[in-house]
């Protein structure tokens, strides 16, 4: 069942290109959905339109089938956690968490019981009477979540909730957040510019760029079959070669790279089209005796990353390929060495160029 639907939603602030241009997507009940993209691409604007803080310039937003486009934030029953948590500084932890229930005119005993349960869920039992200034970043984060889940919202919005935490805590909270979301079964939209976070947490991801949703899919789809050059470039490391599709033989097509060399790739594009061939570094092999795409090359750069090694090889004056291999010992070519590198045709992805 569709819990959230955005239909042709767009927003522009004054002149200039729109902050969000015609977004269409929907989020299923119980799904963990991420909006991923670089700074300024319109993630927060999208989230704030769903929450009701920003009115869309056009389009419709539905929540549980109901059109909420014109509804003020307080009547949407959406929970939102801000990047800076927005804990009310003049209220205690318990007052913060109980605020929404108080607005709903519940009696004191009910509120106290619900606050107690919420504190238990977020692991902050005994923090009732603390003031926000006495909380660490991670604790504030939990209070912000408790304040929202105590109301059992139909949708949870998280705007870069982990970005203000240090790395260790961020990893810890990431695991915790995912488990909590799963336990509660609450539909969640998560905004982040951190691809690791999006890939590891989400059921599905929408990748945005300059106000436009580029691709929507599961983390594996996004990583393995990026729909646009932007997605391929933004998610993970990649080799991107401009090319022209020459002709297909069965499942594989021959493409001509810009420097004239040929490669085989899955035949997803018609002959004659211009496209981008993407090869992830982990698929690039040195030696590559059994790979169909093989090229003589010179090693230009080697970088040590602990668990793996990265290298750059030059195929021709205008073509370099980056590769990566797991550091499990064994010989590594030296700088300037002539080697053969290659990859399996199936590990390449052809991305159509925008018409």
């Amino acid at each position: 069942m569709r819990q959230v639907e955005l239909i042709g939603v767009a927003k522009s602030y004054g002149e200039g290109p729109p902050a969000v241009a015609r977004s269409d997507f929907s989020v299923e009940k119980g799904e963990f959905f991420s909006l991923l993209g670089p700074s300024g691409c319109g993630k927060s604007t999208t989230l704030r339109m769903i929450a009701g803080f920003v009115a869309p310039s056009s389009g419709t937003i539905r929540l549980g089938g109901e059109d909420v486009t014109a509804l003020p934030p307080e009547r949407r029953a959406i929970g939102i956690v801000f990047q800076n948590y927005a804990i009310f500084p003049h209220m205690t932890v318990a007052q913060n968490i109980g605020y929404g229930l108080k607005l709903r005119k519940h009696d004191k005993a009910t509120i106290a019981a619900a606050v107690g349960r919420a504190l238990e869920q977020v692991g902050l039992v005994g923090y009732e009477n603390r003031s926000p200034s006495q909380l660490s970043g991670g604790e504030q984060q939990r209070v912000a979540l408790a304040r929202v889940i105590v109301l059992e919202p139909r949708l949870l919005l998280l705007d870069e909730p982990l970005s203000a935490l240090d790395k260790r805590l961020r990893d810890e909270m990431r695991v915790w957040l995912k488990r909590l979301q799963h336990e509660l079964g609450i539909t969640t939209i998560y905004v982040t510019h951190d691809q690791d976070e999006a890939l590891s947490l989400s059921d599905r991801i929408a990748v945005m760029s300059k106000g436009v949703v580029q691709q929507i899919g599961t983390p594996a789809e996004i990583y393995e079959r990026p729909a646009t050059r932007f997605v391929a470039d933004f998610i993970g490391e990649s080799n991107l070669f401009s090319c022209r599709v020459e002709g297909a033989t069965g499942a594989l097509a021959t493409v001509a790279l810009d420097d004239g060399s040929k490669a085989l790739a899955p035949a997803t594009e018609a002959a004659g089209r211009r496209a981008t061939l993407m090869v992830r570094p982990e698929h690039v092999l040195i030696g590559a005796a059994d790979a169909a795409n093989r090229y003589p090359a010179t090693i230009e750069e080697i970088a040590y990353h602990g668990a793996h090694l990265r290298f750059t090889a030059r195929l021709s004056p205008s073509l370099i390929v980056r590769g990566e291999r797991v550091n499990v010992g064994g010989g590594m070519p030296s700088l300037g060495e002539r080697v053969t590198i290659g990859w399996q045709p199936e590990s390449g992805v052809l991305i159509p160029d925008a018409p």
Partner: protein
């Protein structure tokens, strides 16, 4: 955000205050403007339909009146200069102190001295600078020196104006000096500039906009001050504010008084415009 807030009716919040300023500032100033151009009629406080330039002509042809404007301008200029000379060091020290307690203490002293009743402060000034029994003259006499005529003349007015306006200059400067990153000055020092060189090359230019905005406030306060010249001046030094009060309250020349008010207003607004264009040009030349 604009769309959400207009839905909330945030605009309505502006209405009462905007109405207040329109009804009780802009309209009255328009009335003043019209009366200033009405033909003089002693004792009549009303808007007349006829317009005339008689008041302005009278002002600019009588040395008593235009001379008073020159006196006011001169006193205000002197006040600005002394405020900068005295206020800059004080503001600098306050901005640079590493002790929050010193900063708080000095701020409260300056803030309080700014808000304290002017009559009472001037009373204190008379006690200190009095020509016969003033503290300073008592001291001079006991040292066998001649007495100085410190008040009831131009010096007295200037002293009083500096006393009255100095806090405004200090606060205008502090707001900038406090936020001025000290590392600029330190960078200059590490590049080989002496302390004074760094001050004149770095700190002073960066603080110029604050000096300008402080100068406007001080100038405008000085040109329109009535209580300082009346209590520390004499009948031989007349300022435009003294004539304004006299014409209106003592002689009932509302039209001429209004014209004097318009001239005072024009000078204040002129100072604001000049400083605005100065700081624009200044900001422009920096980048």
């Amino acid at each position: 955000m604009a769309a959400t807030t207009s839905r909330d009716g945030t605009y309505l919040l502006l209405v009462p205050a905007a109405a207040m300023f329109f009804l009780f500032m802009i309209l009255p100033l328009l009335v003043l403007f019209v009366i200033g151009f009405n033909p003089p009629e002693r004792g009549l406080l009303a808007v007349q339909p006829q317009l005339s330039l008689e008041n302005l002509v009278r002002f600019f042809t009588n040395p008593l009146f235009y001379g008073s404007l020159l006196t006011s301008l001169q006193l205000s200029a002197i006040t600005v200069v002394f405020d900068v000379l005295l206020g800059f060091p004080l503001a600098y020290i306050m901005a640079r102190t590493s002790s929050p307690r010193v900063f708080t203490g000095l701020s409260i002293l300056v803030l309080a001295s700014m808000q304290l009743d002017m009559t009472i402060r001037l009373y204190g000034m008379i006690v200190i600078f009095g020509n016969n029994n003033g503290l300073i003259n008592q001291l001079l006499v006991s040292l066998g020196l001649p007495k100085l005529q410190l008040i009831y003349n131009r010096t007295g007015i200037a002293l009083g104006l500096v006393q009255a306006t100095l806090p405004f200059m200090v606060f205008s400067l502090i707001s900038i000096l406090r936020n001025l990153d000290r590392s600029y000055e330190q960078a200059a020092r590490s590049l080989g500039a002496s302390r004074w060189r760094a001050f004149f090359d770095i700190t002073l230019p960066l603080a110029t906009p604050a000096v300008i905005s402080g100068a406007v406030i001080v100038f405008s306060l000085s040109i329109s001050s009535y209580i300082v010249p009346i209590l520390l001046g004499s009948s031989r030094v007349s300022t435009i504010s003294m004539h304004l009060y006299q014409q209106v309250s003592e002689m009932g020349f509302w039209q001429f008084g209004s014209a004097l008010g318009l001239i005072m207003l024009a000078v204040s607004l002129g100072a604001i415009l000049v400083s605005f264009s100065l700081s624009q040009r200044y900001a422009g030349s920096r980048f």
